[in-house]
Amino acid sequence: MSGDEHRPVPVPDEQSAAFWAAAAEHALALARCVHCGCFAHPPGVVCARCRHPKPGFEFTRIDGAGTVRSWTVIRDSFLPGFRGAVPFVLVDVELDIQPDLRLIGRLVDGVGAEVRLGDRVTAVFDDVAPGIAVPAFALERRS
């Protein structure tokens, strides 16, 4: 991807540090509540499922396979760091690991790829700066 110099880079915090540390190793690790076992993304201060106020999230590595629920082609970005990267495709993905667990990321196949609702994708990573990688998706080959 060109024009990445000023792409906004994530600034890890207490809630997110483990997620970004895994991403740097090209692994998807999502927060899992120690009480109900449900994944939460983004991880809040309270578990979104069981409402436990001390979810004690454990970041669990998952394989990142999922299904496309929608997509858009960004042709003009409000973020100057992405202006050199347009047009690019963003996909709204429901991860297999838990119903309605969603992640939004760039589709690395590009605008030429024909996308349909229900297409299968898997998580990949964009290296955006030294030690920083951001989740993206790639289409699984249709059989």
Binding site: V9, A48, S70, S77, P80, L103
Partner: protein, 399 residues
């Protein structure tokens, strides 16, 4: 306990004022707000010292780094009261997204409870003079934005593009169908003297030729940022009947809210629709009126797909059919449901829910002049997406 609204038709709109809607005004926003407030108070036949309540939602709805400066880029209730030299018993702001509906709810509750006798409700919207409205030069994404901005998912166009594309794909609809919505909004806006788009209707070809920014959202699917202020005087029905204009009564209201925590700006279609169904049910419980009894249903259209989502969630057409309904002249003001008769945000400029509320008021009070509809007894003013928004039901006669 009955969900029926106990203050049903006990509170009414007694007067209004609307400033010219300009791309960039030559006067500070606060000065326009002051002028507009005084005009609304005069329109109601009141003196400023009778106003004892002030309500607004002051948010500058931009994804950019524009500063919120009271009197310059925003106008709060307290700022306006102070500049008018009034010391109100009640002044507050609504903090959610469905700002016009939310502000009306605060004002109605204040009047119904006796916390204030005459509330001035205003909405002031600003288009910052420097930089693009939503542009943001951030190079670091912190807090909630760290989950989406590093991927390039940012700003409200991408936000609405995802559920809109989900709709098109799910129901086999074409982006081209939306031309009927834009042509209708702009035709009506063209007839409104204060509209930014006054005298500037568009054709379907204009719509189809416009630049696409975040597929399927194009530049004309978005309302244009403007400077403008509207103000309304809200009081008890009894007091309103003694004033110079016919009262327009608040028959009920309803809000929607998202049921799940999501990523920032992530609006799956089903989240929007289930909240819309909640609103339709709550409106009926609150007022005793069904959506089919509304003859002036003013739907929110800050982004064009919201017209589809409101049409379907209110049951004004079947789910999945809005794209056909609009193409079959279903929303033509002269022959169908007048859902954009007031021009909406697409036909006026980014006045948030003001055009919807104002059209309900003008039509139901019989003050719409040459735009007066033949039948205007029950109006609905929607604002925002159903899952962050609300709707207020108005009647021309008390129920």
């Amino acid at each position: 306990m009955s969900p029926r609204f106990r203050a049903r038709c006990q509170v009414a709109i007694a007067g209004y004022a609307q400033s010219p809607i300009e791309r960039r005004a030559s006067r500070p926003l606060g000065v326009i707000a002051l002028d507009t407030a005084l005009q609304a108070i005069a329109d109601a036949g009141l003196a400023r010292d009778q106003i004892d309540g002030f309500v607004t939602a002051s948010l500058l709805p931009s994804a950019g780094p524009h500063e919120s400066v009271d009197g310059v880029s925003i106008v709060t209730a307290n700022w306006l009261a102070q500049q008018l030299g009034v010391h109100p018993r009640f002044a507050c702001g609504f903090q959610g997204f469905g700002q016009l509906a939310g502000s009306v709810m605060l004002a109605v509750n204040a009047v119904a409870s006796g916390a204030a006798n005459y509330v001035l409700l205003h909405r002031a919207l600003h288009n910052p003079p420097v930089g693009r409205y939503h542009a943001n030069p951030m190079t670091e994404a912190r807090g909630a934005l760290q989950w989406t901005a590093p991927q390039g998912y940012f700003g409200p166009l991408a936000m609405i593009a995802l559920p809109y594309n989900e709709y098109l794909q799910r129901y086999g609809a074409s982006r081209d169908a939306m031309a009927a919505v834009l042509v209708e909004a702009r035709a009506n806006g063209a007839r409104i003297p204060w509209s930014y788009w006054h005298d500037r209707p568009i054709t379907a070809d204009d719509y189809l030729a416009a630049r696409v920014i975040a597929d399927p959202i194009g530049v004309l699917d978005c309302d244009i940022p403007v400077d403008g202020v509207a103000a309304f005087v809200i009081t008890t029905a009894d007091r309103a009947r003694d004033l110079q204009h016919p009262p327009v009564y608040v028959a009920g209201y309803a809000q929607g809210s998202p049921r799940r925590a999501r990523l920032p700006l992530h609006w799956p279609l089903d989240d929007i629709m289930e909240a819309g169904f909640d609103i339709a049910r709550r409106l009926e419980e609150s007022s005793g009126l069904s959506p089919q009894e509304i003859d002036v249903p003013q739907l929110y259209d800050g982004f064009s797909p919201l017209v589809y989502f409101w049409l379907e969630s209110l049951g004004l057409c079947p789910v999945g059919e809005a794209h056909r309904f609009v193409q079959d002249d279903g929303i033509r003001t002269d022959s169908g449901l007048p859902v954009l008769s007031g021009g909406g945000a697409l036909g006026n400029g980014r006045m948030h829910g003001v055009p919807q509320m104002l059209e309900c008021y003008l039509q139901l009070s019989g003050r719409a002049a040459d735009r007066q509809l033949r039948s205007a007894r029950v109006g609905l003013a929607c604002h925002s997406s159903p899952h962050y928004g609300g709707a207020v039901l108005y009647t021309g006669e008390p129920l």
